[in-house]
């Protein structure tokens, strides 16, 4: 390892360490004004009363503060629940906003310094580490030592990384009150962009985008000499930074709805939720454009682009989940399960999620037009189930947290309903396929090993059969790692795209179907 890379690693670890320590810095205290300022009108009096014992107390950590808050709040709510006094129960969770408001921390006083020390150092270290990679070596993809690596082959480092990611996602989705110090730290950036203080989602979006950029640099180094990989990496970096991160924030600054123009239903599962629809409808021409744009992407964009280019136009060139998988997740791509059994599970699960998303949306729309009468409860139940199980647990905790265990495309392969939709088009009506180069395959297995979607590419290549699979995201790595020039991603005529009885060229003794 070069000196600068060692320095980068040290900086990254200092940054990561600071990031982990920052939530522990600071004291928490509440007073009545704070409570009134951070609760809804209907709850103000009650919350001020419930939390009264906390006024004037100083809590030295988020644990003690949130424990005390939980005790008082739950005592109140549980009693009402026991009495079945449902109208009085407070369903809103004020722990995040009150913890953020009640926080007194050096991080809040000097956010830029702490930002530089944590995220800043991690990003700088990551770039120092990645940029000099393979310097002085001839161009070519080197997968050296991947299966000897603790990080990349489910060793102790991989386990630690996966556990850390899982913990982070659990906190982010369900216990964000523990992360308020970090949210306060990035608040000045949020205010610069949108004029609003940061939420935990801004923190997440920022880290997510920076991670794609830093690991995108790694991709540029790793896949030197492969223009396809370079371009598609640049593309996901651009779409994440501009479309997913900056543009929505700037829209908010301009008093427009927060909107990611490249997010498509049913991945964007709340697109048809009543509050979304009413936001679009109440935001004038811009809102109307967003609504129509979103619908056009679903009914025209997906089928047309997928017909011409395959689902890769989205999954490995545009999508944010794909963007993270293809950059941060690239070191783990070889961990996907290639067995036939996994493929069977994959088809049941991903199409199950698609059906669930469609049913949920249909119920939502029916409910919307029926005037919130009889379907109201079913809609809410479905939304909260889907949001918890699919939106948070599957897409987030499993989707990213499982990178070091099951590869970088667990969500995309088993869960994403949009991938399922794109996949159906790709399988049945598309010009995209991966072609195999006559009889040149030597069954070495590099392609299958490095397929992040768990496709047994070799099974096709050694038969001389085109690869037409709904799950293929067209990352092009099978082609990149093939030592004999066998695989090529192509868009071409639909005729002979699917070859059920392929013939291997080169043996004139028999014309047989391998």
């Amino acid at each position: 390892m070069k000196l600068i890379q060692k320095l980068g690693l040290i900086l990254f670890l200092i940054g990561l360490g600071s990031f982990i320590l920052i939530p522990f810095l600071g004291n928490y205290s509440l007073d009545k004004e704070l409570v009134l300022a951070n609760t809804k009108d209907i709850h103000q009096a009650k919350m001020a009363e419930i939390l009264e014992p906390m006024y004037g107390e100083s809590y030295s950590s988020n644990f003690t503060f949130l424990n005390a808050f939980g005790d008082y709040f739950n005592t109140y709510n549980d009693q009402l629940k026991a009495e079945a006094n449902w109208d009085q129960v407070i369903w809103d969770d004020y722990s995040f906003s009150l913890a953020l408001a009640g926080l007194d921390s050096p991080v809040k006083d000097d956010p830029w310094m702490f930002f530089a020390l944590s995220i800043g150092l991690a990003v700088l270290g990551g770039i120092f580490y990645n940029l000099p990679k393979y310097q002085g070596e001839p161009e070519g993809i080197k997968n050296n030592g991947i299966f000897h690596s603790s990080m990349k082959n489910r060793g102790i480092l991989g386990m630690i990384t996966g556990s850390f990611l899982i913990l982070f996602y659990i906190l982010l989705y369900w216990f964000p009150a523990y992360l308020v110090t970090l949210v306060a730290m990035v608040s000045p950036i949020s205010e610069m962009l949108s004029g609003n203080p940061a939420s935990q989602w801004f923190l997440y979006g920022l880290i997510y985008t920076l991670a794609i950029i830093v690991m995108g640099v790694r991709m540029f180094r790793k896949y030197r000499g492969n223009k396809y990989q370079q371009l598609r990496t640049a593309s996901v970096m651009f779409f994440q930074t501009a479309f997913a991160f900056l543009i929505p924030e700037i829209l908010v600054l301009l008093n427009q709805p927060y909107f990611d123009f490249k997010n498509i239903w049913p991945l964007d599962y709340d697109f048809f939720y009543d509050y979304q629809i009413s936001t679009f409808l109440s935001s004038g021409g811009v809102g109307m454009f967003m609504l129509i744009w979103g619908i056009l992407l679903i009914i025209v964009g997906v089928p047309v682009f997928t017909y011409f280019f395959g689902k890769r136009w989205y999954c490995s060139w545009v999508c944010g989940c794909g963007g993270l998988a293809e950059t941060v997740g690239d070191p783990y791509r070889q961990l996907s399960d290639k067995s036939l059994k996994a493929w069977k599970y994959e088809r049941y699960i991903i199409h199950g999620v698609l059906v669930l998303a469609v049913v949920m949306t249909l119920v939502t729309i029916a409910n919307y037009f029926s005037g919130f009468s009889f379907l109201g409860n079913a809609t809410n139940q479905l939304h909260s189930f889907y949001g918890f199980a699919i939106g948070s647990a599957f897409a987030g905790v499993v989707g990213t947290g499982f990178y070091p265990f099951m590869g970088n495309r667990v969500w995309c392969r088993f869960g994403c309903p949009l991938a399922a939709y794109l996949g159906l088009v790709q399988r049945f009506k598309s010009r995209f396929r991966i072609t195999t180069n006559g009889g040149q395959c030597i069954s070495c297995g590099n392609c299958s090993t490095y397929c992040e979607m768990g496709i047994d590419v070799r099974a096709y290549a050694q038969k001389g059969q085109n690869i037409v699979r709904s799950s293929c995201v067209g990352c092009g790595v099978c082609s990149a790692v093939c030592p004999r020039g066998v695989l090529k991603l192509e868009n071409g005529s639909e005729e002979n795209r699917i070859t059920d009885f392929p013939i291997l060229i080169g043996n004139d003794s028999v014309k047989l179907n391998a």
């Binding site: 001839p138 161009e139 070519g140 997968n143 050296n144 030592g145 991947i146 299966f147 000897h148 690596s149 492969n226 223009k227 396809y228 371009l231 067995s339 036939l340 180069n437 006559g438 009889g439 040149q440 030597i442 069954s443 070495c444 297995g445 590099n446 299958s448 090993t449 070799r458 099974a459 050694q462 092009g476 082609s479 990149a480 030592p483 004999r484 020039g485 090529k488 991603l489 291997l504 060229i505 080169g506 043996n507 004139d508 003794s509 028999v510 047989l512 391998a514």
Partner: protein
């Protein structure tokens, strides 16, 4: 099962396994047993190097999942064969166990050549062919190797050099000839690969021949001496001067052997119901003008298996290979060849067109006969389509037609630089010809895919 004909295949490499698979497809009832002492399950021998370098785990080299064999009723017998009793039609294993057959296929592959060098059996000296060789190499290079020497400049030699480079073990690569793999590659191509080897800091020594391997008191290699008298201290020696049929255990019986098991073009040996395919078979005549009597390539092994399966299924078929093709990867440079391109040719009968990119890693060679008809091509550093050249060779296209249509032969990934344009320009320069040079597409211009 006892009533069914029993086909026993010794060896579960690409030849034996292809034969078994195709036979099962053609015949539902025949009993098929694959015998191997090397590995219970079929794996791709060509991928052993990737296991060593941590690109893959050994299981990744297995093209079929473990349930595949039972599902297709291909019985697997993991044992080493001691001898074969042809008169009673049975195999005798080293354990003493016996297995009766009706038809026997010998597909036992190769072993690394050892030419009787002094010290060739010392500890730390080995070839690389089998799974056991890989395991041996892993233990031989685990620690304490500060330099390795590789003897013999072929495909396995350069693979071994790459493997050792992964372990950061400095390599001296002794090649007897004046150029790397120059019995196969023309001079320019051989030089191109040679330069690339040096670029990887591998100490390539052309025209260097091994004299002897020197051991220490413990019987471990400590140095090699070359014919020129130079002594190179080393703790590991790779013997990669080719391979030869692995048939020692078959010699001295009524089975006719020479270098390999002697077969006709239907893979029949001199003993009825006994066949030989793959690396270990030696044809009594060349299968085609440009073919050797022993074919030691993955692809030919596969074709032998495909062909013999037909005969065993009651459709007597003799081996008729199509146009020659092959491929390899020299460190970072991919190589493909279609048709016939020998290392040298008679320029009164053959014309050669050669283009090399200024970077020295991409090249294209095309040989034509004096009437301008395509004989074969070599391509380095970029990919060309097998189907295209198979057709061009079958239909006896002129070189001009091949070059005019070269864009269609391109098999590089999207957005890669269009080298075929440069090749077309150069061909026009050297040979003339009435055709239009391809134009870069809009996308190619946009993304600056410069050549």
């Amino acid at each position: 099962m006892s009533g069914n004909r029993h086909v026993v295949i010794i060896g579960n490499g690409i030849s034996g396994v292809t034969c078994a698979r195709n036979l099962r497809k053609l015949d539902e009832n025949v009993r098929i047993t694959l015998v191997s002492g090397e590995s219970k399950f079929f794996f791709s021998r060509t991928a052993l190097m990737y296991v060593y370098m941590g690109h893959m785990k050994f299981e990744h080299t297995q093209p079929y999942e473990n349930w595949f064999w039972e599902k297709n009723r291909l019985e697997l017998k993991e044992a080493w064969v001691k001898e074969i009793d042809y008169s009673s039609k049975q195999i005798i294993f080293q354990s003493g166990e016996k297995l009766a057959y009706d038809d026997l296929v010998i597909a036992v592959g190769s072993k690394p050549n050892k030419f009787g060098w002094k010290g060739q059996d010392l500890k730390g000296v080995q070839g690389l062919y089998s799974k056991q060789d890989l395991e041996l190499m892993e233990s031989n290079t685990q620690s304490g190797v500060s330099r390795a020497v590789i003897v013999g400049g072929g495909l396995i030699g350069i693979e071994m050099a790459e493997m050792l480079a992964y372990k950061k073990i400095p390599v001296s690569f002794l090649v007897r000839e004046a150029g790397f793999w120059d019995n196969i590659l023309p001079k320019e191509e051989s030089a191109l690969v040679g330069k690339h080897i040096l670029e990887h800091h591998i100490d390539l020594r052309l025209e260097s021949e091994l004299e002897e391997i020197i051991g220490d008191e413990s019987g471990r290699v400590k140095a090699v001496r070359t014919k020129s008298g130079e002594e190179i201290p080393c703790q590991f020696v790779g013997l990669t001067a080719g391979v030869s049929p692995n048939i020692d255990f078959l010699k001295g019986s009524e089975l006719l052997t020479n270098r390999g098991v002697k077969v006709n073009l239907s893979f029949e040996t001199n003993i009825p119901n006994v066949y030989a395919i793959g690396d270990c078979a030696e044809f009594d005549q060349s299968p085609a003008e440009d073919r050797r009597p022993i074919e030691q390539v993955w692809y030919t092994g596969r074709m032998h298996g495909e062909t013999l399966a037909q005969t065993l299924a009651g459709r007597p078929t003799s081996y008729k290979p199509g146009h020659w093709f092959n491929s390899a990867k020299f460190l970072d440079i991919e190589y493909q060849t279609y048709g016939t391109v020998p290392a040298s040719w008679d320029s009164s009968r053959v014309d050669s067109f050669y283009w090399e990119h200024s970077g020295g890693k991409i090249a294209f060679r095309m040989l034509l006969d004096k009437s301008g008809t395509l004989l074969g091509i070599n391509n380095f550093g970029f990919r060309l389509r097998h189907e295209f050249f198979d057709r061009a060779l079958s239909e006896k296209w002129s070189g001009t037609k091949v070059i005019a249509n070269l864009a269609k032969a391109n098999f590089d990934p999207e957005f890669f630089a269009p080298y075929y344009i440069e090749i077309q320009k150069e061909f026009k320069n050297q040979f003339g010809g009435d055709f239009k040079v391809s134009k870069p597409s809009f996308i190619q211009k946009l993304f600056g895919a410069s050549v």
